[in-house]
């Protein structure tokens, strides 16, 4: 008869207890610690004087991500316009073409942003001659808007911040959308805005496939099948854009961001070689001082986007993927804007560092009222500053 294996039991006991590690013990340093911990220091890097610049023209006129409409806004007076294609004279139901009778027409816009603190917001829709293109000036569109026949206005609920707003015409008011013979059946609309105070809105552009301007025609079709008599004809705008009369172009001694065609800025720094070789970046903060109050739509801040560069080619520099920082800039801000750019600056402290340059843009580029102007390195004071907190190795663990 075999006896219980005591050795095996002991082995299992130890195996159960084994591989259990919990090593940390509290200590007072430096009494027990063999050497000091990482050395932490702060420094301020200033940009290379005269090497920071602003560049514009990054966005084609038909690439705007939003349609801006405003009334009395300091950031700029803006009007939007949209053309809808000619509506067919007949509709196909179950394979047969039928003439139809219009019951109503709904025109919808996607509201992306508004100043929710301004009540009584209305979108004004006026007929203008279709065919307004991207070369149109603000004066031309605004003049057409003022002279155009009012289709109607859309009262935007004060509680609505984003979503679809619609104007529905029926009965006698349908005639306001009758296409003119000279317009080949197309319908042109200009959009303005009114509220209890100067304000603006951002509407979805043609780049937004789900919220772009849409005209839905509800029709009655004389089919034998009574369940098929109500039909809709949906048309999305084939042309929509906006014009804006913004503030004058900034001077050459400021770093500008924003604008309809996209303005970006580039700031170059020199990193001390002693730090580049051994430091580890713990925190990096870019401080920008506004040259003037930040312009924009209140309660709809633009976002400064900071990127590192793979290659410094001036305005056509190649940005580093995944190396970025961001900072929301509210309208009216006048204080120093501080952005965390550690992910960018830490790449400068690597064995094969990319250019020590920060490339700044403003999101949504071409689709925001936000416009920022910051003091550049050419300014007598308050130019960009990069505050870097870094760690140096201390080689602890001595015997």
């Amino acid at each position: 008869m075999r006896r219980p294996a005591a050795p095996g039991a002991a082995l299992m006991l130890v195996a159960t207890l084994a591989c259990t590690e919990k090593l940390t013990a509290p200590v007072n340093c430096p009494e027990l610690c063999p050497g000091e911990s990482l050395i932490v220091r702060d420094t301020v890097l200033l940009p290379l004087v005269g090497m920071d610049s602003s560049y514009t023209g990054y966005l084609a006129a038909n690439e705007v991500p939003a349609l801006l409409v405003s009334d009395g806004l300091a950031a700029g007076e803006a009007r939007a316009f949209a053309d809808f294609p000619k509506r067919s004279d007949s509709i196909s139901v179950d394979g047969l073409q039928y003439a139809y009778t219009i019951d109503s027409v709904a025109i919808g816009f996607g509201l992306l942003a508004r100043d929710s603190m301004v009540p009584g917001l209305r979108l004004l829709l006026r007929r203008i001659t279709p065919g307004t293109d991207t070369t149109a000036t603000f004066e031309a569109v605004d003049s057409a808007f003022r002279q155009g026949a009012l289709v109607d206005s859309i009262l935007v609920a004060d509680t609505l911040k984003t979503g679809t707003v619609r104007l529905v015409l029926k009965g006698d008011t349908l005639s306001r959308l009758d296409p003119a013979e000279a317009d080949s059946g197309r319908i042109g609309l200009a959009v303005g805005v009114r509220a209890s105070a100067p304000t603006g809105v951002r509407l979805a552009s043609l780049l937004d496939p789900t919220r772009r301007p849409t005209m839905i025609t509800y029709v009655h079709v004389p089919t034998p099948d009574t369940t098929r008599r109500k039909q809709t004809i949906t048309a999305t705008a084939n042309n929509a854009n906006y014009v804006i009369a913004g503030p004058p172009p900034p001077g050459a001694d400021v770093l500008a961001l924003g604008g309809r065609s996209g303005t970006r800025s580039l700031i170059r720094f020199a990193v001390p070689a002693a730090l580049r070789d051994s430091a580890s970046v713990l925190r990096a903060t870019l401080e920008l001082t506004p040259a003037a109050p930040i312009l924009g739509l209140p309660n709809d801040p633009g976002t400064l986007q900071f990127r590192g560069l793979l290659a410094d080619l001036g305005p056509k520099s190649v940005v580093l993927a995944g190396v970025a920082g961001s900072l929301a800039v509210p309208a009216g801000a006048i204080g120093v804007q501080s952005a965390d750019v550690r992910s960018i600056v830490s790449t400068w402290f690597t064995p094969n560092p990319p250019p020590s340059v920060i490339f700044i843009g403003l999101f949504p580029e071409g689709g925001s009222f936000a416009r920022a102007e910051f003091q550049s390195s050419r300014a007598a004071s308050d130019g960009p500053r990069l505050r870097v907190t870094y760690a140096l190795p201390s080689r602890p663990g001595h015997p």
């Binding site: 509290p26 007072n28 610690c33 911990s37 760690a391």
Partner: protein, 380 residues
Amino acid sequence: MTPACRGLLLLLLVAGPAAAQSSEFGVRGLGIPLRPLSVRARATGGALGLFDSESGFNPAAIGLVGSVTASFQTVQGWRRSQTPAGVASVQDNRFPGIYVSGPIGGTRLALALSASGYTDRNFELASRDTLLLRGEEVEVFDTLVSHGGVSDLRAAVAWRQSSTVQWGVALHMLTGSNRITSHRAFSDTLYAGATERFTLSYLGFGGSAGVMARVGSRLTLAGMVRVDDRLTVERDSSPVGKTRLPLTLSGGVRVQLLDRLLIAGSGVYRTWSVADSELVAQGGIGSTNTFELNGGLEYIPDPKRPNRRPLRLGVYHASLPFPLERGSDVSETGISLGTGFRFVADRAGLDLAVERVWRSAGAGFTERATLLTLGISIRP
């Protein structure tokens, strides 16, 4: 060489750096000196270390081995460490040694190869501090982790002059590393944590010689001397310095008091103060000479089957070489208890030892540890 011997030799060669007994007392100098003892010797407080063929201490002790034997150990430790900064309960597991020995056929010689821990420098220290950054006080949390230590690779040859006298010599290669990681984290999440890592590596050589002689039928005496050269220290392959290693002198006595009872005692003296000035030059606190005294017994319930569940008891007291603060004394005292089993016709065995260790230094540093050591031996 038989296939079994070749396998055991391969096992010995691929064994990683040995280590044991992580402790806050292993922070200074080269760490905590380790005792290259078998589980049997450990259970007797180290008293049988000079006489035990499975210990890597006295090369003469292998002179009487009659068959090839391989053994290795694992140690699970539970410690409660107290420092002026607080108290921590710490656990760790180590594999402190592997031994292979056997007679050289047709001669009076025996050969042993072993890998054991020389010093252990495994520790994790945590502390907190406050820094003034950008005009604000920021709390920081530091951890310093060291893994590794110095291992002692030994090749020993013993000559059996007679059935009562054996001589032995051994060559030692001291090698190993400390993988050190220092991390600083911030309470303010705007600051990223920072880490630095590097490796301290060690290399040195030494030699030892020993004798074991039976006087009469019940008394056995043993002695050992060991000399080590300077230990070369490099940080990431860059020279840091050299550290003198101590001369080790040890002597012991073993008495077969009764058929069932064996008692033993020994002392070990190491001149660690020779490393003092070089450790200080490398930024350390320094080192002092150490002395260890131990005594123990082994009681065999059945003299006809001496390997069946012997009872082992031991006690030791030792000073440690690396003070936590300059001028302070560091010491440890331990008591131990153990037993063993043999099975598969005595071809395999398990030995077990439980130790309770107290360590103390000035300025509020104390430590209590319970160490459970399991040894497995094979005689193919």
